[in-house]
Homo-oligomer: 143 residues x 2
DNA sequence: GAGTAATTTAGAACAATTCCAAAAGCGGGT
DNA sequence: ACCCGCTTTTGGAATTGTTCTAAATTACTC
């Protein structure tokens, strides 16, 4: 029905990633990528899809998120046990995580640091460096 | 019965943390702290306790780990969705996480980095900086 | 359009963790 | 040493987030 012709980019990106551009994947990709950088959980995305009248199953949302992640379209960020965020920004960057609100926020790429990396344990190679700066709401009370 | 008189330190540390030195907490503390730095999950600790004939319930292990963490005796490290490690090293340090083996390893304190920290979002203060260097087993095949 | 393999689905299955109300244990005062 | 009140522990059920499964559907090739 209303598949319209969205940014052909999405379709292209999926193809390039070796993923068939199915209705569900396209719809989820649109939700994920057409609104700037996002940090979203599987359940949240599922909710958004349903709200947008895209009847996709939760299992498919999980499948899709993982496939996108493997394909390098997404990055998974683990901040709390039992909850995974997916970040639409796959550039090399890091995060603020607010323990009070559960909010995740990109750290502007440049503002970062990371000097000398220690060398990885024997027989292993570095796959990624995650920096999470945990913050909490400030004690605004001055009294 | 065989409570013996372990390093009075444990008892002292618990008291200092405002935690009643109950049998279970003492026993778990001993498992945790008398063998150098450890990275352990709740289930693992529970297993160790049972193996050591300390019949403690899993719920208590969870309670205890969280209380110890709040008291600053432990540090929680989240590397994978759905699994939490507790680190007996509470000094400022970081981690290697091997994606192939699931093994967590301290990064020698000095070998670290972290230069200029970006300032936290308005109204928040930094509570901690976690650096996790994800490594994977190297492609040993040279052919 | 038909055939085939990839994808989606709903729901069951799982794993880690938390919750619950009841039982047990700790420590202060006697 | 014994009581008492309050903290802690317990087992089991409940919850949460995620994965699995077998069957139905869909995308692409010819």
């Amino acid at each position: 029905m209303q598949i319209a012709s969205p940014s052909p980019t999405l379709l292209t990106r999926l193809r390039a990633a070796g993923l068939r551009p199915t209705r569900q994947r396209l719809a989820l990709a649109r939700l994920l990528f057409s609104a700037g950088d996002r940090h979203i959980t599987a359940e949240q995305l599922h909710g958004e899809a349903l709200a947008a009248s895209i009847p996709v199953s939760l299992a498919t949302v999980y499948n899709t998120l993982h496939q996108f992640t493997e394909a390098g379209l997404l990055r998974e960020v683990v901040v709390e046990p039992g909850r995974s965020y997916f970040d639409t920004n796959t550039d090399d960057h890091h995060h603020f995580f607010c323990e009070s609100t559960g909010m995740l926020q990109d750290i502007p790429g440049s503002a970062v640091m990371v000097g000398a990396l220690p060398h990885a344990p024997a027989g292993t190679e570095i796959s990624r460096v995650d920096v999470i700066i945990r913050v909490r709401r400030q004690n605004t009370a001055a009294s």
